[in-house]
Symmetry: C2
Subunit: 169 residues, 2 copies
Amino acid sequence: MTISMYDASIPVFIRTLDNLAAILEKAAAHAEAKKIDATVLLNSRLFPDMFPLTRQVQIAADMAKAGGSRLAGLQPPSFEDNEKSFAELQERLRKTVAHLEGIRPEQINGTETRTVTWPTRAGDRTLPGLPYLVSWILPNLYFHVTTAYNILRHNGVELGKAEFLGKLF
Amino acid sequence: MTISMYDASIPVFIRTLDNLAAILEKAAAHAEAKKIDATVLLNSRLFPDMFPLTRQVQIAADMAKAGGSRLAGLQPPSFEDNEKSFAELQERLRKTVAHLEGIRPEQINGTETRTVTWPTRAGDRTLPGLPYLVSWILPNLYFHVTTAYNILRHNGVELGKAEFLGKLF
């Protein structure tokens, strides 16, 4: 009659980052085919005070990394924000997925009421595991992956929502 | 040791649509303050073959409506796609939230393995309740709310991610 915190987190994070990797692969191929400098896409943003593509990908990866780690009671591993190419962003996603794959269901299950505390620019935040997952990590993760997709679509990369959703059927 | 399908669906859908309503309220106020014809924002899109703002809002609402209804074994109510103003989109969101508020936890809980079938442009689709919720409805819902947000940010409406996430602390 129930689902587990693991069901609602780690496999969803991995799937979403794998879909983002496929989107970035198409973007890199588009840049190469159209002889567009990849850094133009990597530095594109939808408005001057929004983050560019590279930062959107870093934050998406970090949301999944932090969400999985903090629910499991682990300190998230720290990755430098120094990616300068599509290949380096792919490596960031690969490292993040590998970390998530190392988290076992029994580390996550039962954390719906565990207090999770994490640092933000506005100071430390605290929520129980369930709202931390469904109202903080997941919306943030999807926000940054969708914005990465939208930046690329706005720049003419041929993508469809099927890439964002991944293969389901 | 577990969370319920209800915890992971109806309250999340309602919260997300309420956040979208707050975003649209800011957009309507921005149009009025800057003497921008609201229909310019409602018809804006990030790329010629992407959907405009109005359609993004309709699809977001429909994803929540369909997700809640189909998990509960109900036929989703049908709303005409005829909104022409911010006020009419708010009414669409209000009706959708009212429908979701009428779905009780016992109608949703235990549906993680129930077969859900729904029509798409590509024909009927079928998934068990859990992947239907976490890999179809939720990513689609967040995709269209984020894209609505991005269309408005791209057009200069002053919004922050706090509006997308809603009040949590």
